[in-house]
């Protein structure tokens, strides 16, 4: 009688471990395959005899996509410019608005209406906006500029930042602001000098989420910046319609998009999880 529970406990532990290992394998194997393929010699892609691991590793695909005559470097720079500008603007704008909504006493529940408006933006099809936004940018002669993509990305992420930070600013102890207020300190300085320094983790969470969204965003970027201000995700989608698929360079280009983000995610995991959780569950 003594043996049974321990045996089943061991069996269960084993089953649990196997299940977790399987989940990890399914989640991570595609990344490994992508990275290995980006180092695989071209002639191996269509051969039946090639194994999972390339026969020898080569950097030819990276050399090819980063060839000085090519445009990849420009796409990388475009993506970096657009992501960093969008992140800074979205967090600054969003933090200001969230603080205002948390402190303002507007009539007719106006604060709530604006708050809900920001939430609604998360839920409608972006394709509805993409077409008229394309026309709008055409009218302003902003097609294929960084600015067109940045404005689009800020407008997509600001609502999320507001929604996320609103919770933090509402919970922020007002006593901390009160004494400064008695000295005659207005909301601008209270916000910058007192509130912001104490809510940096929340700001970081908002920034991390915004950066991911902007770096990965495809629809808006592809509709207003197809040729010049092209971002990396838009470039990747081009590999499919090109005549035949160049597996090697496609893998290399995808790795350029995926690997930095994956590493960044591992280091900012705490903020990412917190941001997603607050953003989703608070509603």
């Amino acid at each position: 009688m003594e043996q049974r529970p321990t045996l089943s406990a061991i069996a269960e532990k084993l089953a649990r471990g196997l299940a977790v290992a399987l989940a990890l394998f399914v989640a991570l194997a595609p990344f490994v395959i992508l990275f290995l393929n980006s180092l695989r010699p071209s002639d191996e892609f269509l051969s039946d005899s090639a194994g999972l691991v390339p026969s020898h590793l080569t950097f030819e695909h990276y050399a090819e996509i980063f060839d000085p005559s090519g445009d990849t470097l420009r796409y990388v720079i475009n993506s970096l410019i657009i992501t960093s500008a969008s992140t800074v603007l979205a967090v600054v704008f969003g933090a200001l608005a969230a603080y205002a909504l948390a402190r303002l006493k507007l009539p007719f529940k106006l604060s709530m209406i604006i708050g809900v408006l920001f939430l609604v933006i998360r839920f409608y099809p972006k394709i509805t906006v993409a077409l008229p936004y394309f026309l709008l940018m055409r009218q302003f002669h902003l097609l294929d500029t960084h600015l067109a993509v940045i404005i689009a990305h800020v407008s997509l992420t600001v609502p999320f930042v507001v929604w996320l930070l609103l919770a933090f600013f509402e919970d922020f102890p007002r006593e901390l602001e009160q004494s400064a207020m008695l000295d005659g300190c207005g909301p601008l300085r209270r916000f910058v000098l007192i509130v912001l320094p104490l809510t940096t983790p929340a700001l970081a969470a908002a920034a991390v989420l915004t950066a991911f969204l902007s770096w990965n965003e495809f629809l808006m970027a592809s509709s207003v910046a197809p040729n010049v201000a092209t971002t990396l995700p838009v470039r990747i989608s081009g590999f499919i319609t090109d005549k035949g698929i160049e597996w090697g360079s496609m893998s290399a280009m995808s790795s350029v998009v995926v690997v930095p983000v994956a590493l960044f995610a591992l280091f900012t995991q705490r903020y990412l999880a917190r941001g997603l959780t607050v953003g989703a569950v608070k509603g």
Binding site: P5, P187, R189
Partner: protein
């Protein structure tokens, strides 16, 4: 170090005194409202407007005559629209169901603060942080017919794998599985947070060995986290209805129209064929569908939460 001044002196203090408390807070709202109004609300309204006119951008740079609901009527008599609508709904439902089942299972399996468990949760998050178009290229590679690694692995154990992305039905299934792969981590993160916030005696009861565990899970833990599960379901159902990116890099809607999601079809109509008014009408049909889904979920969730409060006391 000089202490920052909180008083009314200085140009900042005078500025704040002149504009006043409410005035400054209202100014804080301006940048966000301007950007959102310019790049979201105005285009949204303008798309509603365009949807009642006849306009093909490739034929005319200016908007054509008013046609009433003709564009909307056209969407419902268009077999490709109907097909994509049907596929999109099936896609969202099946993918969301898979995400919830696997997400809950993984969240339960990796619950705890041990280093290995925390590390597992971190690593399992990766599929959702990378660009959806890259998710598409990765899986296109893995699923590619004869030489893809998946079919090779299947061949090694004696199974002749299907042409995942070339056969219409398998392509439809593949896209759903890819979406579930990408977004299950979202369910894991949110459900882990929900489970962690449960009272510790509930969790302990749920981790005790034996027959009581399933009952605890089924009758205590699940009902307690039901509002969160529904929230995840709502987010994922709506995002599922809007799926676009992965279609571009896996099947590009094919073979034929087999894997046209509604967003992809609208994208083709609008930004490829420049049927502005038709695409706008179709996108409003999609938008209204999303509104209905969100409303149903929020009302349902409110009922459940009210019921929880009522039964707890």
């Amino acid at each position: 170090m000089e202490r920052p001044s909180y008083g009314r002196s200085g140009w900042l203090g005078q500025f704040e005194a002149r504009v006043g408390e409410t005035g400054i807070l209202l100014l804080f709202l301006v940048p966000s409202l301007v950007v959102v109004g310019f790049a979201q609300l105005y285009p949204l309204a303008s798309s509603a407007y365009i949807s009642f006119f006849d306009w093909t951008l490739s034929r005319s740079p200016v908007i054509g005559p008013f046609v009433g609901g003709a564009n909307y009527a056209r969407t419902f008599s268009d077999p490709v629209f109907a097909g994509s609508l049907l596929y999109t709904i099936a896609f969202a439902l099946i993918s969301t169901a898979l995400q919830l089942v696997f997400g809950l299972a993984i969240a339960l399996l990796t619950l705890g603060e041990r280093l290995t468990l925390r590390l597992t949760r971190t690593l399992i998050m990766l599929p959702m942080v990378i660009a959806p178009v890259a998710v598409g290229t990765i899986w296109r590679m893995i699923l590619s017919g004869r030489v893809g690694p998946l079919n090779r692995a299947l061949a090694a154990i004696g199974i002749d794998g299907p042409d995942w992305l070339g056969n219409p039905n398998w392509a439809r299934i593949s896209l759903i599985l890819i979406d579930a792969w990408e977004w299950t981590p979202f369910a894991v993160i949110i459900l882990t947070a929900a489970l962690t916030s449960l009272p510790s005696d509930v969790l302990r009861a749920a981790s005790v060995d034996g027959a009581g565990r399933w009952k605890t899970l089924r009758y205590i833990v699940l009902p307690m986290i039901l509002p969160v599960i529904m929230l995840v379901a709502m987010f994922r159902l709506i995002d599922g209805l809007l799926t676009l990116d992965i279609v571009f890099t896996t099947t590009a809607g094919g073979p034929g129209y087999a894997t046209h999601t509604l967003s992809f079809w609208i994208y083709q109509q609008g930004l490829r064929y420049f049927n502005m008014s038709y695409a706008a009408a179709a996108s409003w049909v999609l938008l209204l569908a999303c509104v209905v889904v969100a409303a149903v979920f929020l009302v349902w969730r409110r009922r459940i939460m009210a019921w929880q409060v009522a039964t707890r006391s």
